[in-house]
Amino acid sequence: MFNKNNNKPVKIGILEISTQNKSILEFFFSSAGKTLFKEVNVAEADAFIIDYDFPGAKESWETTFNTSGKPGIILSIHEVSLASAIWVSKPLTAKALTEAGQKLKEILQEHKQIKEKPDSNQSSPAKKVSNKEATEITTEVLQSSPSSQSESPNKKPDTPIKLTLDDTSVENIDLTTSQEKRPTVSLNNPKSNAETDAEIIDVNADIEFSPQEVIDFSIPQQTNDAAPVIENPESVDFLSSVPTDKAPKETHKIRIPTNTKEPSGAEISKPETNDDLLPHREASTSDNAKPHERIKPLTKLKDTDSVITNQEPVNNIVPSVELPIASDVAANNEQIDALLESLISGKGTNSDGDATNHSPAPPLKELKETNNKTNIKLEDSVIDEPKGTGSSFIEEDEQRSTEEVVSLPEESFSNIILEVSGDGTTLADDKNVDTLMDSLEVETVASMSPKSIADMPITDNTNNNKATPKKNASINKHANKSGALKQPSIESGAIGATSEKPSQPKAKLDTAEGNSTRPEKITAASKKKAPLTPEEELQRLLDEIRKEADTGPELEDDSVKQTKTTFSEKRRELIFGDWPTINKPAELKKISFKPEEHILQTFMQVLDQAKASKAVMRLKFKNIIIVIDIKQEAVYCDFSLMDEEYAEICFNIVDPGIIKIHTLDKSEIRLYRKKMIDEPKNTHSFEAFIWITSLLTARGRLPENTDINQKIGIKYWPNLTRLESIPHAIQIAAALKKHPGSLLEVPRWLNLPQSAVFAFYNGVLALDIIERDQHKLKSLKDFNKKSNKKNRGFFSRLLKRITK
């Protein structure tokens, strides 16, 4: 049953799709899926692939499907059930794509078979095609009668016309037909899969469709010969343009609503005659079937009648066709899947998880061979012969600055393997996987040639990094694409300026061009030692890296640290205050304040006003200016929020009457927007401004009338990384998000000072993210100090480590 075309790849057109998925498909088409798919332009495609989750994809698929009728593969994270579409779940796998490709071939093959056996379907009743997405009407121009078919063999081939009718396009269709020219309108019932008989309808009448309605145009099986109807057993998906080379038909003039135009602008779709098109089209164009073989007479029809048929889904009428398994595809899939699995298996670890046991790893050549079938190019990393610098690798290395690249030429550095060590158990067993992955260590293992590492040449094509700090100079090495030395990335360069910790050197296996970089620490003492074997040299480097990692980051200069401590203590006082602990509501008076007496209240009112009027508004109080720009969603201040003066303004009682509020005109808006750009440090998000202002206002107190016994939670986490950091905020947020509690309970649970919890409460209160709905809070578990204790000690040490 197979012809040579069956083994040809399906010409596939990619419709709406994310770049990420497109890259996956392109990779798949060029490797494992090569025998299944060939990517072509959409116009030439036999079938399509579309990412159904992509914005606008559904509409695009409807349009494409309705205009072309071609099948497709739909990629989606949710199950999609559409006629003539094969759903492939995301994330994509080679296996799923292969299976989909084979199914697609089956569909196309089935269609072709149907074309080759039109007679077998003549006695079958017409069936509906289920299509949830669209209602499709296909009109084909027919001869006016069977006799005219046979009597007019030399007439032009008919031009099948396909109309896509949706809820807007089909209304008031006027299919004006002459007696000689009779369109057949095939209409798919979008909801019913049941077989139906044909019936005659008057297409001159207005037809109104609603997508929600079940449209049941039944057509009797046996019909009048005088009114032939195409009884195409196939889904209309494939029907759209089936020209016949021997069945002369006349072009039928019908009035087509303008909104049935094809995307190209053509009013109706034209049949394609290119033999390279869909298999079903190949069958069609080469089909020797006579008109009467493909056109089923319809009884009880008048010449002036038009007929709507329901057609049978392909899958219901054609026995499934078994296709040969693409063993090469499967093999490729296995190789692809095996590739990276090999990277995370096969090594044992010692008791504390260090990968010191270099048990046999997959030979790199095997990996390389495997990778040649993918786009992962793991090349053997080797070292060139020394190129006569005369100086040792170590000496040269010390002369270079940070982030340089050591180019490791080919001959001597035979293997650099990314080795992931486990306990030798298999990945198939979940328990073992847990054990394995928990103890995973990744080490670079250099299996070198007898040449000393000191002989390794250094490629130094750039001298632009002389100003780079010498610290970690010998460790942090990056290889770029060409193997040339390069500056650390912008990111790593910026780390030093912005993070509290110096940027970490990065050991890297650059597999792109056979170059390798590796972490290393060269000491002065090491220069004087006798040359080590390559294995010893590398092991020493790794040991030094580990030691350095164990020592942690260097301490800051004492004076800097002292200054920071003083500042943070001062700031802490301004945010937390120094108030007595309260234990009952009656004591609240000791630490309460009236929000309406503070500038925060005025700001919130003006913010609401600005939101309502969409105006840019300015508050002026004493010598400070605050501008609220709704469009920019930003607040501009002509001072720093860290100023102690602002903290005092917030904390002190303010008469709202002396705060000047002004709506800015265009020139003033321009002025302040320029300032926003010029002074980003004084421009804040609403959330950040409200957060800090509320903290400074409350200074560890609570608004009067606060119910300190009411259980509260938070609706969502505040964006704490972009708000002024206060101690314990993350812990309090986590507690309130998971375990609702009162303002008296939470500090006790977490063993924190009340002021920390109260400060956090004020912040989230001002941000309006307090959850007080007790029904919602009931679904959350109560805090249990004894639960989750399993890792508490470990977590505690980890938190100390990462917050110091």
Partner: protein, 180 residues
């Protein structure tokens, strides 16, 4: 001597800053398997991670936290389940400058659905300081639509403090009662 080993997984699309984030936290030079980027990835950076990134936080006395970064491309998604087994939690890094961050969020939360149902998810949105739309509120809204309750933070992967906040949020979400 304690020999506790735990792991945290960093995932997210290509160029979201997973490698940088691990680099910011790791006590050792991170081990990467980088490859010359092809296809669309090339538009974002010259090299991209295949297989995984690995970093480590040494706590002392033999205790370590392993940091794994998944490759961003979907074609390596078969590794994701393996990597997340036994993990403390998942940190999803999203790039606000990408064409459709909502789609990324949807994709990765769906891909790691089985893990998220049981474990902790923390979301860090990078480049949100430069590109303010969509903002954090929109991410919260999208998560709400997906019926996922997870904290979202704007982060700069290069800032250790930001990434540390993600890890802290993860640990405190597992056990708010832990003390330092």
């Amino acid at each position: 001597m304690s020999t506790k080993h735990k792991k945290i997984i960093f995932t997210g699309p290509v160029g979201a800053g997973k490698t940088t984030a691990i680099q910011a936290m790791s006590d050792i030079p991170i081990v990467s398997t980088n490859e010359e980027a092809s296809d669309m990835t090339k538009n974002r950076k010259s090299q991209t991670t295949v297989a995984m990134d690995y970093g480590r936080i040494n706590i002392g006395e033999g205790e370590k936290i392993h940091l794994y970064g998944t490759p961003g491309q979907e074609r390596f998604s078969f590794m994701w389940d393996i990597l997340t087994k036994g993990a403390l939690g998942l940190i999803l890094m999203l790039d606000n400058s990408r064409d459709n961050p909502q789609q990324d969020l949807k994709f990765y939360t769906q891909s790691f659905k089985s893990f998220i149902e049981k474990g902790e998810l923390i979301i860090g949105v990078t480049r949100i300081d430069d590109i303010q739309k969509p903002n954090i509120n929109q991410y919260r809204h999208w998560l709400n639509e997906l019926s996922i309750d997870a904290p979202v933070f704007g982060v700069d992967g290069r800032h250790q403090k930001d990434i540390s906040s993600l890890v802290q949020a993860l640990l405190y979400s597992i056990d708010p009662g832990v003390t330092t």
